[in-house]
């Protein structure tokens, strides 16, 4: 759709159907290959010498290659491809299709997913080497990748939802990989159920869309919303329902609680799923349905405000964590909120660009954390320290990732974060809506906090004395190589979004928002200011954590309650547990059980008793007395009458003769009279 616009600018006549790239037709192979590799690894993985990883890596390599080729075709000017096959139909209005829609957004997502997944596959050969469930791990990695790619490729909401749910299921399996510990399986269940809560709203949103528009096809839905065929309050409600799915999947307030606990899974899983790919599904969906959201009244404002709240809360939480993976988890929540906020204020290109860059440096950070954990055998930063000398590669790549996250020039995070802040500023100055101002302020505050907590994390990890037990050593090449690849990506991809000349804004646009968010970079003040904020935070962090000046004992101060609040994660988990889970678990379940026993079983037993109550008198009275009376009575009557009639047989022949003669006389008289 967007390409058509682009093509219009460069040709005199409107071409009805633009040229499609050869490989673009085959993009459905990209999700199919990992799914097939799932089945292959599942059935044959244990028999292979390498326990299955080669199948996954091969599938993903081909997938990455295809994605690159397809993307190049798109970038060279070919048109987006949409194809669909009908899966089943009910009646004439309800069609469920398999469909693919390969355009720039899909292409970008393909590149991200395939790259990060491939790197995680390679990384895991080292990290999970001693794991006893190596094969099934790779099987699920493949399935997850295939599902994510399918979801991104989907051209209709139903297929998107299928992919959405599948990645949730894979996340459940992968988080619970170390299920021998009860808390790991509990974390997996928590992730799945929390996602389920949001998915309920999401599903109702999809139903609502069908009720309003009569179709599931995404392009059609966007088109209908733009025309105004569907709109008004009902569209707003539908959009908010769709947003429910985003809240759970992309960890916004208040359903982000599963993401920190999901760190119980293996670190490669966290890198792939909970940093780069699965959690951005919500952002992707919003970007896909962006036109619909725009025309859905104040839905985008709600999105923006929720995102603003989330990014600040999560950043504060990241500040006090000891577990390095949790720091990164809360950081992810905060950055996802950044992306959602961007979309909320209309900075479409900026939001997607941040998704793109964040995938790389967050995956880098997680894999680096994995390397650290692998060396120190502990997640906690208090067990680390001074590792810059022991693990140079990990140290350097982790620093690159941290600076990228903090948004320091020329790393990728600088460009994407500034676009978002710029977009918020533009929206605020143009539309003067409160949501945009809130987002602007929150974004700046979060940028500060982000740099601060990353500084803390790096200082605690790499500087100072080593607090652990046995001497750590650098990780093997299979783990370090992906780190460097991602570091290289972090350094370079930022320039894809360079203002004016960068190609990203040509690739990812929506009509009405062309070149938005990038023109503000004409103004040099904004990026300078943002960099200053980040540097200030880094300076503060160094002072607090490295040089240990300006210590402030918060626990003894009157603000101790703030620390307690944050320490207990704003009591949100407690609220869920005591307010929702326990009442359902004990009260609601007990009530349901009672109603099942008493009401349902009572009804069933009552029906049975009723039937018996009818059956017994039927038997006793109707059958025994009435019917048998009739039957026995008939027999008895026959016997009785026979008993009476037998007296005629007196044995006396003369008696018989008397009857005979009387009858003869009678008959003769009868004949005589009638003839």
């Amino acid at each position: 759709m967007n390409l058509l616009l682009f093509a219009q600018e460069h040709s005199e006549e409107v071409i009805e159907s633009s040229k499609q790239g050869f490989f673009s037709d085959f993009m459905w192979l990209v999700p199919l290959l990992p799914v097939l590799s799932f089945f292959v690894i599942l059935f044959f993985g244990k028999k292979l010498k390498d326990r299955g990883h080669s199948v996954g890596i091969a599938a993903l390599s081909i997938g990455l290659l295809l994605s690159l080729v397809g993307f190049v075709e798109l970038a060279a000017g070919n048109a987006a491809v949409e194809k669909s096959w009908t899966w089943f139909e009910l009646g004439e209005h309800f069609h469920i299709e398999f469909g693919m829609n390969y355009d720039f957004l899909t292409g970008i997502m393909f590149l991200v997913v395939c790259t990060v997944s491939l790197l995680v596959h390679i990384y895991s050969t080292g990290y999970m080497h001693d794991d006893k469930r190596y094969t099934i791990f790779y099987a699920f990695l493949s399935l997850f990748t295939g599902s994510m790619l399918a979801m991104v490729l989907a051209n209709n909401m139903m297929m998107l939802f299928v992919g959405w749910e599948l990645v949730g299921v894979c996340s459940y399996f992968l988080i619970g990989h170390y299920w021998e510990e009860k808390e790991n399986s509990s974390a997996a269940i928590k992730a799945f159920i929390t996602n389920r809560v949001g998915d309920t709203g999401f599903l109702f949103g999809i139903f609502g869309l069908f009720v309003l528009a009569g179709t599931f096809n995404i392009n059609e839905l966007n088109h209908l919303a733009e025309e105004g065929t569907i709109g008004g309050t009902s569209l707003t409600i539908v959009a908010l329902l769709l947003f429910c799915g985003v809240v759970s999947k992309s960890a916004q307030f208040p359903l982000y609680v599963w993401l920190p606990d999901a760190m119980a899974g293996p670190t490669p899983v966290s890198a792939l799923i909970h940093a780069a790919t699965m959690v951005v599904a919500g952002v992707y969906m919003t970007a896909r349905m962006f036109i619909l959201f725009e025309h859905a009244g104040s839905a985008l404002d709600v999105v923006a405000i929720v995102a603003a709240i989330t990014m600040v809360l999560a950043a504060i939480l990241a500040l006090i964590q000891d577990d390095i993976k949790r720091v990164l988890a809360y950081s992810t929540i905060s950055q996802l909120a950044y992306m959602m906020a961007a979309l909320g204020v209309g900075a479409y290109t900026a939001g997607v660009f941040h998704l793109f860059t964040h995938a790389f440096f967050k995956a880098l950070l997680f894999l680096g954390a994995g390397s650290l954990i692998h060396a120190v055998h502990s997640n906690n930063m208090s067990d680390m320290g001074g590792l810059k000398d022991y693990m140079p590669h990990t140290f350097r790549t982790f620093m690159i990732g941290s600076l990228g996250l903090a948004g320091i020039f020329p790393l990728a995070g600088f460009f994407s974060k500034d676009e978002i802040i710029g977009g918020a500023l533009r929206s605020a100055s143009e539309s003067h809506q409160a949501a945009a101002w809130i987002v602007l302020i929150a974004a700046i505050v979060t940028a500060f906090l982000t740099a601060l907590y990353m500084t803390r994390a790096c200082v605690m990890t790499f500087w100072g004395p080593f607090e652990g037990e046995h001497e750590p050593h650098e990780s093997p090449g299979s783990m370090v190589t992906p780190l460097w690849v991602l570091a290289a990506a972090t350094i370079t991809v930022g320039f894809l979004g360079f203002p004016i000349i960068g190609p990203f804004q040509d690739w990812i646009t929506v009509p009405g928002h062309e070149h938005h968010g990038f023109e503000t970079l004409y103004n040099i003040v904004l990026p300078a200011g943002a960099t200053l904020v980040a540097l200030a935070a880094i300076g503060l962090g160094l002072q607090l954590f490295l040089f240990k000046k300006w210590r402030y004992d918060i626990l003894a101060s009157p603000f101790a309650w703030t620390y307690r609040l944050v320490e207990n994660k704003y009591y949100l988990d407690d609220f869920y547990l005591k307010g929702i889970v326990r009442p359902v678990q004990y009260k609601l379940s007990a009530a349901t059980y009672w109603s099942n026993q008493k009401i349902l079983d009572g009804a069933v037993n009552g029906v049975a008793a009723g039937v018996l109550a009818v059956a017994r008198p039927t038997y006793a009275v109707i059958d025994q007395q009435v019917i048998d009376f009739a039957v026995n009575g008939a027999a008895g009557l026959t016997g009785y009458s026979g008993g009476l009639l037998r007296y005629i047989q007196s044995g006396n022949v003369q008696r018989y003769a008397a009857f005979l003669f009387a009858a003869v006389a009678g008959f003769v008289a009868l004949f005589a009279l009638t003839s």
């Binding site: 003369q654 008696r655 008397a658 003669f661």
Partner: protein, 184 residues
């Protein structure tokens, strides 16, 4: 007087005899008397045949009926130790029997009177030699019934002998007295 009058007188006399004798047959309390009253009835019937210009039938009647059948009856009475003198020979259904008889009489006489009212038999005129005529008929037109009747008589004869024969096994009682052959 005319012949018709004589005929009527003869008829009525014979009718009275026949009627009286018949009634005495069925009401007599002495079996021998009943048999003898039957003789009277039969002779009266023979007279009636003669009146009806059927003398061959009349004399055959006397010969066979009176001479053989009644004698046979008397033999039967003798062999069954008919009691001498009065006895009770009427069973319990006399009223019913009387009713049946009356019904039969009523019906048949009514039909016949109704059918043959006013018709009469012409007893004057040519008297044919009935014996010759009967002989002609029997051996020409009715020869088959004649032969069948003779077969019937043969069968009756043989049957009677067989029925009344004594048990031929040795040691069986050959006396006609009751007691030894009674089976109960």
């Amino acid at each position: 007087m005319t012949a018709a009058v004589y005929q009527q007188i003869v008829f009525w006399v014979l009718a009275v005899v026949i009627g009286f004798s018949a009634i005495r047959v069925v009401t007599s309390s002495n079996v021998i008397h009943a048999a003898l009253y039957l003789v009277g009835t039969l002779l009266g019937a023979a007279g009636m045949y003669i009146l009806l210009v059927a003398e061959f039938v009349a004399w055959v009647q006397v010969l066979v009926y009176v001479g053989a059948i009644v004698v046979l009856m008397l033999f039967g009475l003798m062999l069954t130790r008919a009691p001498i003198g009065k006895g009770k020979y009427d069973n319990d259904q006399r009223p019913l029997a009387a009713l049946c008889a009356a019904a039969v009489f009523g019906v048949t006489s009514w039909i016949m009177i109704d059918a043959f009212e006013g018709k009469s038999i012409d007893l004057s005129g040519n008297v044919r030699s009935t014996a010759e005529g009967i002989g002609d008929l029997i051996f020409s037109k009715y020869v088959l019934p004649f032969e069948v009747v003779s077969m019937l008589l043969l069968a009756a004869l043989v049957g009677a002998v067989v029925i009344a024969r004594r048990d031929p096994s040795p040691g069986a009682d050959t006396r006609s007295a009751p007691g030894k052959g009674v089976q109960e």
